[in-house]
């Protein structure tokens, strides 16, 4: 029962068609549908109708991110638990968005909106599920061509409260945390429900802001190849390929046409139910985030949408 995985993120974009071009041709997602103000996309290795929704808006940022739950009944149960925790919840009816059933929408202590859902149209992958090839036909693979949406990282003021919500209400575990040097305050929290290093993470900063949405690629070479594709297409790159200390992942950060930060993320360790929480102290945060550079850069802390 409960949450299975991160299922979707809805991003606000200021020029819908330019953004669709970026997310399909450069990131390499597939458009699976559109309505008046939204376009729905999925990666080639994802089965559900969409994992990314682009919403035409006058500001950049994230409308919500969503977790798929195992059973429809889980919505009732998690809704009650969330209300008991003290967060505001409401229901979205069937068909609010293309291909989706009903959802419970709730507001986190950090001001971000989360949706819990079970029903979503199943489209499958080009390889199918019977004696499949490992990859689709080459003409289907475009741009960076990630396997899937991997995680989101968000900023907020009360990192302890949002961590408690994910652990106590949604049954997540914490893979890593960043603490002030005196150990008094948590300023970073990396949380997982699957077997990845993080499905969602929070770092201290202004409430309700998106730091980045990350897509999973296979390996270090694919991160380098992503950098080549981004430069070829004049996409602003913030951090060229490097490694994270936190998660051990390989990474490149860049921005979509509305300034929403994206990441192509590879590798990273595997987590499991008895995985201990790794602690970083604030004085080592530079090495934790950029393992080679060992220092943060101004935009990484301040460029938020």
């Amino acid at each position: 029962m409960g949450v299975i995985r991160l299922g979707r993120v809805e991003l606000r974009v200021m020029d819908l068609e330019k953004s669709v071009d970026y997310y399909t041709r450069i990131i390499g997602l597939e458009e699976t549908g559109r309505d008046e103000e939204r376009v729905y996309l999925k990666a080639w290795d994802e089965y559900d109708h969409h994992s990314v929704i682009l919403q035409q808006a006058d500001s950049a940022g994230m409308d919500h991110f969503g977790f798929k739950v195992k059973r429809l009944e889980d919505l009732d149960e998690l809704e009650k638990k969330a209300e008991y925790f003290g967060v505001f919840t409401n229901r979205l009816s069937y068909g609010t968005r293309l291909g989706e059933g009903q959802a419970v929408r709730l507001e986190l202590p950090t001001g971000h909106f989360v949706e819990l859902y079970h029903e979503i149209e199943h489209l499958g992958t080009p390889m199918g599920t019977l004696n499949p090839h490992p990859f689709p036909e080459p003409e289907i693979l475009r741009g960076i061509a990630p396997h899937r949406l991997d995680h989101v990282l968000l900023t907020g003021d009360d990192i302890e409260a949002v961590t408690r919500f994910f652990i106590d209400i949604l049954d997540f575990r914490q893979s890593e945390k960043i603490m002030t040097v005196d150990g008094e305050m948590m300023i970073g929290s990396f949380l997982f429900k699957t077997n990845t290093a993080h499905d969602v993470a929070f770092i201290k900063g202004p409430d309700a802001k998106l730091h980045h949405a990350a897509f999973f690629v296979d390996n270090w070479y694919d991160v380098l190849k992503a950098a080549d594709i981004l430069t070829r297409n004049e996409v602003p790159i913030e951090v060229t390929p490097t490694r994270h200390g936190i998660s051990r992942g390989e990474t490149i950060y860049f921005f979509d046409p509305s300034g929403n930060r994206n990441e192509a993320f590879a590798s990273g360790y595997m987590t499991y139910a008895d995985f201990p929480t790794i602690t970083w102290t604030e004085d080592k945060i530079g090495q934790g985030i950029f393992y080679h550079r060992r220092a943060l850069i101004e935009s990484f802390q301040k460029a938020l949408t």
């Binding site: 200021m14 500001s59 509305s258 935009s299 460029a303 949408t305």
Partner: protein
């Protein structure tokens, strides 16, 4: 080719270039963020000069900002010589 004054610095900017891009080429210390009109890090106030402004997020460049002649440097293209200053000053 236009001349842009920013605080104690002066640099040149072509009309098809935005103020931030040209500043970076000359190592002018204008804050660099998303370079896409979304994060607001490069918000500056136009003291003087004509320009065209591309799409900027209203969350970081409000109507009030726009009326006060604030812009995001990454989306500002000069059509005359310009003077800009940090928005908070």
């Amino acid at each position: 080719m236009f001349t842009v004054k920013f605080m104690r610095h002066t640099y040149v900017c072509r009309p098809e270039e935005n103020l931030l891009e040209a500043a970076r080429k000359c190592h002018i210390p204008l804050p660099v963020g998303c370079c896409s009109g979304g994060c607001g890090m490069c918000k500056v106030k136009v003291v003087e000069g004509a320009f065209t402004l591309g799409i900027c997020s209203k969350a970081v460049l409000s109507e009030w900002d726009r009326e006060a002649n604030c812009v995001l440097a990454c989306k500002t293209y000069p059509s005359s010589d310009m003077e800009v200053t940090l928005e908070s000053i």
